[in-house]
């Protein structure tokens, strides 16, 4: 694994041109190219065909592909999810967009009772190739009903894939792979990432679901960063490097499938583990990663694992409280230092 990671570390811009794109523009490009590649792909959701285009992520798609393939909807998340499921079972590749993850909860029945088990209970005969995009709000008082990230809920369901990109180029490659995966996929986008930019290859490309990425090498501590905490993790690693603490940043990319191999290989090198998870602490994704590592190599760890998460309470709207609610790179720095100090 360490050899493979060394290869992954190299910046590998693919042959061909790349353009500097924001996260939102990269999501947009992925859908545009998916629809160009396959007539079976269609995009829908509340406001999907509007001028604003769901924070720009669907802007221009209707003009390019017509209202047949890109359309607005009533506020009916449950039946929209069922629409996606029935269409996916028939071989289409729907992309259902939720401007805010919180509204997705209306479709929890569809996901847990129908979509998740669909292929399994069919005896493997049917497939469910649908993608649900869910955007997690953050800041300006989004509060308890506009800022939740319940990735661990859905990662708990057998049969569901959960994808959490942490950079623009990953957003494009992972969304293309999600759309063309034959399994149902929940694709979670941090709103806080939307304006971040990166060189994004112009051509379509597909990032393997279930393979984590070592974004930065380091020998002292493994930082598993998830989704919107990837940039903060890289920033923390940069700061710690100045203090001669070398952090290996592993971008998980997908919760399900979970690439434990890459995490274990890194922890094998560093002996220390910190997980940065943009969600609530208790019973969450960080807990799952830490438990999985401890089950396998617990006695070999040099320090107790640490987790950096949202506090276990709802996001407050009051600006000062909100500012103190979300973990920052400073929290990640502290956790890494604790791990290295063996505290």
């Amino acid at each position: 694994m360490s050899k493979a990671s060394a290869v992954e570390l190299a910046s590998t811009p693919r042959a061909g041109r790349a353009t500097r794109l924001s996260f939102g523009a990269a999501v947009n490009a992925a859908q545009r190219q998916a629809m160009e590649l396959d007539e079976n792909v269609f995009v829908f959701g509340i406001g999907a065909d509007g001028k604003a285009g769901i924070f720009g992520s669907t802007a221009g798609l209707k003009e390019r592909f017509s209202a047949r393939r890109v359309f607005d909807t009533p506020i009916s998340e449950q039946s929209l999810t069922a629409l996606a499921a029935g269409a996916a079972n028939a071989g289409l590749r729907p992309v259902l967009v939720h401007q805010r993850f919180d509204f997705l909860l209306y479709s929890a029945d569809q996901i847990a009772n129908w979509i998740g088990p669909w292929r399994y209970i069919s005896g493997g005969h049917a497939t469910m190739p649908l993608t649900i995009r869910a955007i997690v709000g953050k800041g300006w008082g989004q509060g308890p009903q506009h800022s939740k990230s319940l990735h661990s809920w859905f990662a708990h369901l057998p049969g569901m894939q959960v994808v959490m990109p942490g950079s623009p180029a990953d957003a494009k490659g992972l969304l293309l792979s999600s759309i063309f995966s034959n399994d149902p996929t929940l694709f979670i986008e941090g709103r806080s990432l939307y304006a971040m930019e990166e060189e994004v290859p112009d051509e379509p490309y597909f990032i393997r679901l279930g393979r984590a990425l070592v974004r930065r090498p380091g020998k002292d501590v493994t930082l598993v960063a998830i989704g919107s905490l990837v940039p903060g993790g890289l920033e923390a690693a940069e700061q710690l490097a100045a203090e001669r603490i070398e952090v290996e940043v592993v971008d998980l990319r997908t919760l399900v499938p979970l690439d434990l191999e890459t995490v274990l290989a890194s922890v094998g090198r560093t002996g220390r583990l910190v997980v940065a998870d943009p969600g609530w602490r208790d019973f969450g994704a960080a807990a799952e990663v830490i438990a999985s590592v401890c089950e396998r190599v617990g006695p070999a760890l040099k320090a107790a694992p640490q987790r950096v998460t949202w506090p276990h309470r709802y996001a407050p709207t009051s600006a000062p409280l909100e500012a103190g609610y979300y973990p920052t790179s400073a929290d990640i720095v502290r956790a890494c230092k604790s791990a290295v100090a063996g505290i």
């Binding site: 493979a4 290869v7 992954e8 590998t12 590649l37 396959d38 047949r68 009533p74 449950q78 039946s79 929209l80 999810t81 069922a82 629409l83 499921a85 029935g86 269409a87 079972n89 028939a90 289409l92 590749r93 569809q110 129908w114 292929r119 069919s122 005896g123 005969h125 049917a126 190739p129 709000g137 953050k138 300006w140 894939q161 950079s167 180029a169 990953d170 490659g173 063309f180 034959n182 399994d183 709103r191 806080s192 304006a195 971040m196 930019e197 990166e198 060189e199 290859p201 490309y205 597909f206 990032i207 393997r208 679901l209 990425l213 974004r215 990837v230 940039p231 890289l234 920033e235 499938p257």
Partner: protein
């Protein structure tokens, strides 16, 4: 016309009789053998609607059914052997033994069902959307559900979406007056189910199931309209469940429905009516007797085959449990970073609205 009538009558009788005998024999075999180990919702008394539907359907049509589904599975033309093997939990079942009765499906015959009430309406919207999306076909989708599903919110979302998109979908509502054991008056102040659907712009009709020939004739016109793109239709069929809500035993000792009501329903059994109608249409007694014998033989043969079939094994399920790969358009998957993302950028700050 007379010949068509007789042929339809015979076909209807054959399907109704097959469904009835399937259920009766399964009920008799269920206990004490205890070899079919899954909850089952039998449809004795409710055979007319699936039989009438069976005359209208084509292979590319889709049924999304509720859990009282055995009749609709057979109405879609799916094989009896695979259904009964499924109930026995065998590898030869239509779902490989993984679903049992409540989520019975046969993907090859585009038949699906499930136990969560109201679910089939939404799923049928999806399959009808796909049928319309792929231009050129004339396939339709049928959502089968009971009056209990009209208590669920998702049903109204589905009716609205179907009307909004003018989808090729038949909403087939079996009104047997009880949601499990809860009667209609305990569930709503207004009982006009078709008025609710009509409010969304869905064409509607209500019919009893006591004359299966008339029911089939009505469905024939409705389905033709749907195929021609005239939009969704909700047909409410007034029916009655002779058996218990779930399991082989009667549940009438629970006193949730009046004895006189049950007796009256059984006295006007649609299968008995169908037998009379078939005779009146000129179907020969010999043909009807042949149907009776054939139905029993088919069911017993399926039970024998199911009992002899192997159970599924965990090691055979690994391929089903693992991820299922990608579309052919994905020729290469990359593991590396597409470019070098260094972070160090400010988070998106939301602005005042």
């Amino acid at each position: 016309m007379g010949q068509t009538q007789a042929a339809d009558a015979l076909a209807l009788y054959r399907m109704m009789r097959l469904i009835r005998r399937t259920e009766e024999i399964l009920i008799a075999e269920y206990h004490p053998a205890n070899e079919m180990r899954c909850p089952m919702h039998f449809c004795v008394g409710q055979e007319a609607a699936p039989a009438a539907l069976s005359l209208q359907l084509r292979p590319d049509d889709v049924i999304m059914s509720h859990y009282r589904s055995h009749g609709y599975y057979l109405a879609k033309g799916a094989p009896l052997d695979a259904m009964i093997a499924e109930f026995y939990g065998k590898a030869t079942g239509s779902n490989g033994g993984l679903a049992g009765s409540m989520e019975l499906a046969h993907h090859g015959f585009h038949f699906y069902s499930g136990a969560i009430v109201g679910g089939p309406l939404g799923l049928a919207v999806g399959s009808a959307f796909a049928q319309r999306y792929r231009r050129g076909g004339s396939g339709i989708s049928v959502a089968v559900f009971g009056d209990g599903a009209m208590d669920e919110g998702v049903s109204y979302e589905a009716l609205n979406l179907a009307a909004l998109h003018r989808l090729p979908i038949l909403f087939l509502c079996e009104n047997n007056r009880y949601a499990a054991h809860t009667p209609a008056p305990a569930r709503a102040a207004s009982h006009d189910l078709i008025a609710r659907a009509a409010a969304f712009g869905v064409a509607v009709r209500r019919m009893p199931d006591k004359n299966p020939l008339e029911l089939a004739a009505a469905m024939n016109v409705i389905v033709a309209d749907i195929r021609e793109g005239r939009g969704p239709f909700l047909l409410e069929v007034e029916t009655y469940r002779f058996c218990g809500h779930v399991g082989p035993e009667s549940d009438d000792h629970l006193d949730y429905r009046p004895v006189a009501e049950v007796d009256a329903a059984k006295a006007s059994d649609p299968l008995a009516a169908m037998l009379r109608l078939a005779r009146a249409a000129g179907v020969a007694d010999a043909a009807l007797e042949e149907v009776d014998a054939s139905c029993d033989e088919q069911v017993w043969s399926a039970i024998r085959a199911a009992k002899a079939a192997p159970f599924p094994r965990f090691q055979d399920l690994r391929g089903i449990e693992a991820a299922n790969g990608y579309a052919p358009v994905v020729r290469e998957l990359i593991d590396a970073a597409p470019t070098r993302f260094l972070g160090g950028q400010a988070e998106t700050r939301l602005r005042p609205y």
